[in-house]
């Protein structure tokens, strides 16, 4: 058992490495009633082509299969796993992102029983032709719900505008058509490839003893052998964006927009975290509430409180994005492009950088109140070889010159704009 201490933020991480290659983490939260535990695989919607260990040929699977598998794992031969968690007083759930599938529960009582149940069900899929078919109706409604959701559509349209080939441009749940093709055999193939413990981590946040958790991991993880590497296949993605503008009409009151830039650096580990933090700071310097541009646009009624920005960096893709509601998204986009060009000439403001770095550190510390948030941020960074708690190290070490360099590199690429217009009347 290893312990990593983070004095600046008063946090600790306990790590246990299982012989299968699985890593288990415990992040103690003294005084918390709730224990939040997750079992995550490094497998998400973008992994639709791969070469399984011990195989030579490429397997291609329908879009939405990772998310479909997430739904199906909750079903066991003797009934729904959710019922079993309910009997134990726990809330259970799962989510699928571009790069991970995460199973979770939270409880305030009977942690050991719940934790064993989590280990058990994720390792034991039960798929039949009938139960696969039945799930298609439920997931179709989930897809339709997202199709009516303007926040979701404006975001996926932006990814379509940014990416030419990379599967991040495809909806996580797939389409009603793509999921209709999914078979039991394909689900098992994906399961056997990506749900090996060597491709997975377990993260528990709460007032628990690390020894107890790790002992249950030792007993509960059945596989010992590490099968070797999974080759993940991605199509060639050009550095330039796919298109400048993408538009759609939906039943919304006011136009919504997302604008973003593809990040072409392929970094990992601490460098990835550092670049992510730097880009977050840059976006706040350029577009945050204390920036000149934000206040001009706000005062002119071109943006409102819904305006915000975000950074995503992963091993095979990455982007910055910003957006919200606006009566004139094109005008906002033009003004932002002009402001970026101005900063490319003048350079970033050093004073703003120092002040915003301190503010972001404060907000990072505040985010540590929430066990869900810690898990949610910890897992993707972990799969990218970085540690979430190293944020405080980045805030300490990150220099103005590094941020300037990242700014020049990232913002040299051309942005794309996605707009959802209200329905024409």
């Amino acid at each position: 058992m290893e312990v990593h201490e983070f004095d600046r933020i008063h946090e600790k991480i306990y790590v246990h490495k299982h012989s299968s290659g699985l890593k288990a983490f415990v992040i103690p939260k003294k005084g918390y009633n709730k224990i939040f535990s997750t079992f995550a695989t490094n497998y998400g919607s973008i992994n639709n082509a791969f070469v399984a260990p011990d195989e030579e040929k490429v397997t291609r699977v329908p879009d939405g299969i990772a998310h479909f598998l997430e739904h199906k794992l909750f079903e066991q031969e003797d009934g729904s796993i959710m019922d079993k968690f309910s009997r134990l007083g726990a809330d259970s759930n799962a989510y699928t992102s571009f790069t991970q599938t995460v199973y979770l529960f939270s409880c305030t009582d009977r942690f050991n029983d719940n934790f064993r149940l989590l280990l058990d069900f994720v390792q034991n899929p039960y798929l039949t032709d009938e139960n696969v078919e039945k799930e298609k109706g439920i997931i179709s409604q989930e897809i339709k719900m997202y199709n009516d959701n303007a926040d979701w559509r404006v975001f996926f349209n932006l990814l379509n505008a940014l990416y030419v080939n990379h599967p991040v441009r495809t909806d996580i749940a797939g389409t009603v058509e793509s999921i209709s093709e999914i078979t039991k055999e394909e689900l098992y193939k994906c399961y056997n490839t990506f749900y090996h413990p060597s491709n997975m981590i377990i993260v528990t946040v709460g007032d628990v003893k690390p020894e107890t958790v790790f002992e249950m991991v030792e007993r509960g993880i059945k596989t010992k052998r590490n099968p070797g590497r999974i080759e993940r296949i991605f199509p060639e993605e050009p550095a330039h964006h796919n298109m400048k503008l993408i538009e759609k009409n939906l039943a919304v009151a006011m136009p919504q927009f997302n604008m973003g830039i593809k990040d072409n650096s392929r970094v990992s580990g601490y460098d990835l975290l550092k670049r992510k933090v730097a880009l977050e700071i840059i976006l706040t310097v350029l577009l945050g509430k204390s920036s000149v541009l934000y206040n001009q646009l706000y005062d002119e009624g071109l943006i409102n409180q819904s305006f915000g920005s975000d950074v995503t960096l992963e091993g095979s893709f990455g982007y910055t994005l910003w957006g919200g509601q606006s009566k004139d998204p094109q005008k906002v986009a033009d003004r932002i492009i002009a402001a970026i060009e101005q900063v490319q000439k003048d350079g970033l403001d050093r004073k703003s950088f120092e002040r915003i770095k301190k503010a972001h550190e404060g907000r990072f510390i505040a985010s540590l109140n929430s066990p869900e948030n810690i898990s949610h941020e910890f897992i993707p960074l972990c799969f990218n070889g970085a540690c979430f708690f190293d944020h405080s190290r980045v805030y300490e070490e990150l220099t103005f010159d590094e941020v300037e360099e990242i700014f020049r590199d990232h913002f040299s690429a051309k942005p794309s704009l996605s707009i959802i217009w209200p329905m024409k009347t």
Binding site: R8, K30, D83, S106, C107, D109, I138, M145, N369
Partner: protein, 437 residues
């Protein structure tokens, strides 16, 4: 049986003066301190838009930091502190909220005393707005009124939430509850700066105010903060009217609203006939958990798992108005079948068809939820505010005890009171399912 396990975060009342009540939710497990101020006003169509606008105008700036940019800059200097504005409704009360959140001093360099600085700033935003010619700054008023109008129009964006709101509005069409927490577009357009400033003065001088501080703060610091409120000139405090909960339903209403969407949202609205401070409220909470409060519930198990009709199927209670709405997102063509399946679940509870599993899982899920609230400062503030407004004065532990004491018979008994009121369906423009794209 339940006992206080030492991790229970209680609330203590620090003071009540001139209709301003101060509470401290003390805990040192959080890395932040939060201060929440709520002004309470009876929900009324004429005033609702004023209340919805006010906190956003106040948030634009204060005497010391008169612009949004200067205020944001100051908040960044205070380790990324935040000042927030919001408006809510609980039953027929409208709540105007201003709050501040910031990291505890142990994470600042040399113990920066953020409570004093950020708390002072929040108080100034609350009481020291930027004015010109004796009213709010004209551009702030106009911009925020425009933002409010956009916010009201944007209610349609979140289809599920919109459908639930619309269902409850239709149910209470002749009652104050039909007014949205943001007011309506027509009243928002008619707001004047003079009217808003006058309204602000009235609220400051005569409306009940609740202030919650959560986190670890020294008593002496709390005392200083409370002392600031003495500067507010208070008159006789208005008393909040009782909310009409009981209502005879002579005929079930059916409403269909078309919109350009692909998934329909079916909302079935009921009157619980149970008041917020009634002892029957606790069986009602368990009732709702059995019917539609989670994955163990009848709606999830039947509408989703058994019939594959929906991805979302749940129910929720509006405690203060005594409403219950069952909601699901369905294929347009499945409307009749979905309504039948949902009503079957409703009748099953009424007929006492509640398994031991459903009873136990519901109570456990509620208790887990309640205990988990104690891990979030925001959830605790909302919980205690509801107890204070309903006048029950329960704390987390006593609330949990009341839930645990509920029997199947209690649930069946109150289920007989629950009456179907309105069936609302948000449907596509053609009223038919579209062909798959």
């Amino acid at each position: 049986m339940l006992k206080s396990n030492g991790n229970s975060s209680g609330v203590s009342k620090l003071a009540e003066k001139n209709g301003i009540s101060f509470f401290h939710i003390k805990s040192d497990k959080f890395k932040t301190v939060k201060i929440d101020i709520f002004i309470i006003d009876p929900l009324d169509r004429k005033k609702a838009a004023y209340n919805a606008l006010l906190p956003f105008v106040l948030k634009r700036g204060c005497i010391t930091y008169p612009t949004q940019q200067e205020l944001s800059l100051r908040l960044e200097e205070l380790y990324g502190a935040g000042i927030g504005a919001a408006v809510h409704k609980k039953g027929e009360y409208q709540l105007i909220q201003l709050n501040a959140g910031f990291v505890s001093d142990r994470f600042t360099v040399n113990g920066a005393n953020l409570f004093n600085k950020a708390g002072g700033l929040l108080f100034e935003v609350f009481t020291g707005p930027v004015t010109e010619n004796g009213i709010f700054r004209k551009d702030y008023f106009e911009q925020e009124r425009e933002n409010l109008i956009q916010r009201i129009r944007s209610r349609v964006n979140n289809k599920m939430y919109y459908a639930m709101q619309r269902c409850m509005e239709e149910m209470c069409a002749e009652e104050p509850f039909a007014v949205n927490e943001d007011g309506d577009e027509e009243s928002a357009k008619a707001l004047t700066n003079e009217g808003l400033f006058e309204h602000y003065g009235r609220l400051l001088s005569q409306n009940p105010v609740y202030v919650y501080v959560s986190g670890n703060v020294e008593d002496s610091e709390l005392g200083k903060f409370i002392g600031k409120f003495e500067a507010i000139e208070r008159k006789e405090i208005i008393s909040l009217p009782a909310i009409q909960v009981k209502k005879d339903i002579k005929e079930v209403r059916r409403i269909e609203e078309p919109m350009d969407i692909s998934q329909g949202k079916l909302c079935i609205g009921f009157r619980t006939q149970i008041e917020a401070d009634s002892q029957e409220y606790y069986p009602l909470v368990v009732y709702n958990a059995i019917l539609g409060g989670g994955v163990h519930s009848k709606l999830f198990q039947n509408v989703r798992e058994k019939e594959s009709l929906a991805y979302s199927a749940f129910s929720s209670i509006e405690r203060f108005k005594g409403l219950l709405v069952a909601v699901s997102g369905i294929e347009i063509s499945e409307r009749e079948r979905a309504e039948r399946v949902i009503m079957e679940q409703f009748r099953a509870v009424e007929n006492g068809d509640i398994s031991d599993f459903e009873m136990e899982a519901s109570k456990k899920s509620l208790v887990t939820g309640l205990k988990s609230m104690q891990d979030s400062q925001g959830a605790m503030v909302d919980f205690y505010l509801s107890q204070h407004l309903s006048g029950t004065g329960e704390n987390m532990d006593s609330f949990i005890e009341k839930i645990m004491a509920v029997t199947k018979e209690d649930v069946i008994k109150i289920s007989k009171k629950i009456t179907l009121d309105t069936v609302y369906f948000l449907t596509s423009l053609s009223g038919e399912s579209e062909r798959s794209e």
